[in-house]
């Protein structure tokens, strides 16, 4: 079964970058622009992985993650957090929130792909330009 990935980031540039990065792989790609939209999308779509930005308006990544963990249907959904705040305090906070992994921005594409590949299977599409 094709894994579903939900990308949640207020930056359209980052959402386009990530969509482009994962296009060669067999996965169903969905997006949301903030934590509030992301929660609604996660409830509706039940993704296999959420790639979640840390710092967003409306509802930030930390708040969204806490609400996700309060939902019995979603609390086991693996989350990989993207954060620009690479200081030790912030990374310790992120780790305590129970994310499966994190990547600091800017990230090297191969690093992000490797970390995602440890969570869900990333299989190249038969037709890389669907």
């Amino acid at each position: 079964m094709t894994p579903k990935i939900l990308s949640i980031d207020d930056s359209k540039t980052i959402r386009l970058l990530l969509a482009r990065l994962f296009r060669p792989f067999a996965c169903e790609w969905q997006e949301a622009a903030n934590g509030e939209e992301g929660l609604a999308a996660a409830t509706r779509e039940k993704p296999d992985l959420i790639i979640l930005d840390h710092n967003m308006p409306v509802m930030d990544g930390v708040t969204m993650l806490r609400k996700l963990r309060d939902d019995p249907a979603l609390k086991r959904t693996p989350v990989l957090m993207l954060t620009a705040e690479a200081g030790p305090e912030n990374l310790a906070l992120v780790a305590r929130l129970g994310v499966r992994d994190y990547v600091t921005k800017p990230f090297r594409e191969e690093e992000l792909l490797a970390k995602v590949g440890r969570i869900i299977p990333l299989i190249p599409r038969a037709n890389p330009h669907p």
Binding site: S11, T13, E85, P106
Partner: protein
Amino acid sequence: MTFDSLRPDLRHIGETAFTEVLSILLSLPATVRESPEQCDFPSARDCLTSSVLLAGHRLSGSVHLQLPVPFVAHAVSLLTGLHQDSPEAYNLKEDTSGEIANMVAGRVAAQLATYGYPCTLSTPSVTLGPEIPAENQSGMDHGKTNLFCDGHWLSIELICRYATS
């Protein structure tokens, strides 16, 4: 050891953060240069200023990047694959500029934390023009660096006030 000797070198911090982000995010090398004349910088309508506020128990401040619009257009193209002259790419210039500032500010914050000044970031704000938002800067520390990257002049400025305790 006096309090003043613990002050971070804001110029070095900004320079390191900005060159690292340009290298990792865009694969663009940048060199630090003293601009010979102010007229080498872009005019007001060709420059985006992206700002991120820093807030911590012992520090408050801001990070400001000045990026020429053609540089940002190229960055949009590198990141998204969109043609840099397309309307869609043009509409992303503030977003991309803000995201670059977010990443640079994140690296600045990580370095400030090593000096004992942990802080969090605001969401970025972006304006057209080279002017940094006016604020009472008395008693604040400054660091500014000019970089030459991808055929353009860029700059980063850090402004910080430290709590006395």
